[in-house]
């Protein structure tokens, strides 16, 4: 059988596929973070916790009210979006105009609070969330067996990512948003309610995190620490991609998934740290990230 870089081509394609699956997930997760930073200048450290809350929401809905996965995909982001709006209104609003590092520290504190509460209520072992019936089973792609659910994750992520990018970069709403955060007084003078837009933007970012959480629930255990394990990596993705650029985050997320996938084959011990190596290199060469605009 033919080999590429010393591994059989079957295995190579399999790892590539898996890398893309993970990459789509990273892209999805970093999307919300990029939106919030790009438009609001807030480094949202609570993103991981909001992702976790989304996953738990889906689990609680199934466990207590027998609401299935498909409804959860819509309801969980809505609920967490509302939570995001509340956070913005009561706390983040007071920090605008200050050094963005305060926003980072505040959201870091929030993530500790959320994680602590869920840990106290649900313990640490995590809960199982079943794969929805329509997506169970796997397809034999020839070079590997791919679970259908993972294919769905890729699809859903790509749709949401492209959709969000479109809204922000190509629609009027997106234009208002971008203008409003650059020069809020001027835009307000035109009759656009900037504070409400900002509030809704944070809520939307939170909702995106929760959506990723629901997508993740059947794959990873739904546990309070699921967010904090991921948040650092997601941050690195956003920083590499360029903190203001949504396209940058999405492409970097996908790229990182693939690179990580190959690291797992050739030097698996390093697969958790390769993202940081890349981040350090990128920041040395292109300080604002791959797609970022120079500050």
């Amino acid at each position: 059988m033919t080999e590429i870089f010393g591994i059989p081509i079957q295995a190579f394609l399999g790892q590539l596929m898996l890398g893309l699956v993970n990459g789509a997930f990273y892209a999805m997760l970093s999307l919300g973070l990029a939106v919030i930073f790009g438009l609001l200048d807030i480094v949202n450290f609570a993103h991981g916790a909001l992702y976790m809350v989304g996953a738990f929401f889906a689990w609680i809905m199934l466990d207590k009210w027998e609401v299935n996965y498909w409804f959860a995909l819509i309801l969980a982001p809505l609920a967490v979006g509302v939570l995001g709006v509340i956070i913005e209104r009561t706390m983040l609003k007071r920090l605008y105009g200050l050094d963005p590092l305060y926003g980072l520290l505040l959201t870091f504190g929030l993530s500790l609070i959320l994680e602590g509460i869920f840990r106290d209520q649900y313990g640490v072992s995590g809960q199982s969330y079943p794969v929805p019936e329509a997506l169970q089973g796997a397809t034999n792609l020839g070079f590997m067996v791919l679970p259908n659910y993972r294919a769905w994750v890729v699809l859903a992520s790509l749709v949401v990512c492209i959709g969000t990018w479109f809204v922000i970069e190509r629609t009027r709403l997106g234009a208002y948003l971008r203008a409003g955060t650059e020069n809020s007084k001027l835009v307000q003078a035109f009759g656009v309610n900037v504070p409400v837009m900002v509030m809704l933007t944070y809520g939307a970012g939170a909702a995106l995190a929760a959506f990723a959480g629901v997508l993740a629930a059947p794959v990873y255990q739904v546990a309070p620490q699921m967010g904090s394990n991921l948040i650092i990596i997601v941050f690195a993705v956003v920083v590499i991609g360029g903190m203001g650029s949504i396209l940058g985050s999405v492409l970097t997320g996908l790229g990182l998934g693939v690179i990580e996938g190959f690291t797992k084959v050739f030097y698996p011990e390093a697969s958790n740290v390769v993202v940081f190596v890349i981040m350090a290199i990128v920041l040395m060469v292109r300080p604002a990230g791959l797609f970022g605009k120079e500050a």
Binding site: V43, P100, G109, L114, E115, G116, I117
Partner: protein, 312 residues
């Protein structure tokens, strides 16, 4: 400094000196002093130079391992262990600083985070650290080969002496012309450059000084506790030292010390009351500090006194 301030510090020093004799548990206070030193070292970078590093645990933890290793396996005396630790902090600081200084603000913080994660990875893998088990069984030895440190009270006075000397050192740095330039950089960097100062050089030097003192704190902690572990190099520890500074008062002299005291005391008290509420409480403190208490305890206190003075 003003006589009132000096007298306060002297009073605190007096309390610290008599502490073991009046029944305060020496090991706990020693741990507190080590973290107070760590927090003060961090303050040198954040409060006085204006650079937020998210990777200070790397200097603290790496030095903890280095000091532990030379004392345990190479049989070095404790003061040489401290020197080795501080030097490793300096070396690591030089590397980190050289890479990170080119960037500003959030990007600077992220680069330091990335680099410290790499250090964590190294410590996880390297055989000499003992990995998950940690580097255990580090003896306290004898200071200069003469004074045995096994007794907690003797060790306490040695630790106190080292910390006080370091604090005086930091004070000296901050009030020196060098320190003034650092403050200028924090206030207005472009202007400092236009005045002809090589800003990057100053920043790098501040970084290296901060890192070596953090390393000294880590080595001291290894000698006190008798082991070094992976917890010392995690990003959560980096977060903890930021909290200590935020809580105590960034840019004040005593703030980080007080902040360290509160955080360590809280962790200790809450360890007995089980559960995840430790994290929730620390999270709440973060939130409250950022929203209402940005100057930290000491900062708010100083501002309050200033207002009273103006009115009076």
């Amino acid at each position: 400094m003003r006589p009132q301030v000096r007298n306060t510090y002297l009073a605190l020093l007096a309390i610290a000196i008599v502490a073991p004799l009046v029944g305060l548990y020496p090991v706990f206070v020693m741990k507190l002093l080590c973290f107070a030193l760590f927090a003060s070292a961090f303050n040198l970078l954040l409060g006085f130079t204006g650079l937020l590093s998210f990777g200070h645990a790397a200097f603290f933890g790496m030095a903890a391992y280095v000091a532990g290793w030379v004392v345990k396996t190479q049989g070095w005396t404790p003061e040489l262990g401290l020197v080795a630790g501080a030097l490793s902090g300096a070396a690591l600081g030089l590397v980190f600083g050289w890479v990170a200084i080119r960037r500003q603000g959030i990007y600077f913080a992220m680069v330091t985070l990335a680099l410290s994660q790499m250090v964590f990875f190294f410590c996880l893998q390297a055989p000499f650290t003992g990995g998950e088990d940690g580097l255990q069984g580090v003896p306290r030895g004898s200071l200069f080969g003469l004074l045995p440190l096994a007794d907690d009270t003797t060790m306490y006075y040695v630790v106190l002496a080292v910390c006080v000397a370091s604090f005086l050192g930091i004070l000296r740095i901050v009030t020196s012309p060098f320190g003034q330039v650092l403050k200028m950089i924090r206030e207005n960097e472009p202007r400092t450059t236009s005045l002809g100062y090589d800003v990057d050089r100053y920043k790098l030097l501040a970084f290296v000084l901060s890192a070596s003192l953090a390393g000294l704190a880590g080595s001291l902690k290894t000698l006190v506790m008798g082991f070094a572990s992976l917890t010392d190099v995690t990003w959560q520890t980096s977060g903890e030292v930021i909290l200590m500074n935020l809580l105590g008062g960034v840019g004040t002299f005593f703030g980080p010390v007080l902040g360290a005291g509160i955080v360590i005391a809280l962790q200790d008290m809450l360890a007995d009351k089980a559960g995840a509420w430790v994290n929730v409480i620390i999270g709440v403190i973060f939130v409250v500090c950022v929203l209402a208490f940005r100057r930290g305890v000491v900062g708010e206190l100083l501002a309050f006194i200033e207002r009273r003075r103006v009115r009076a």
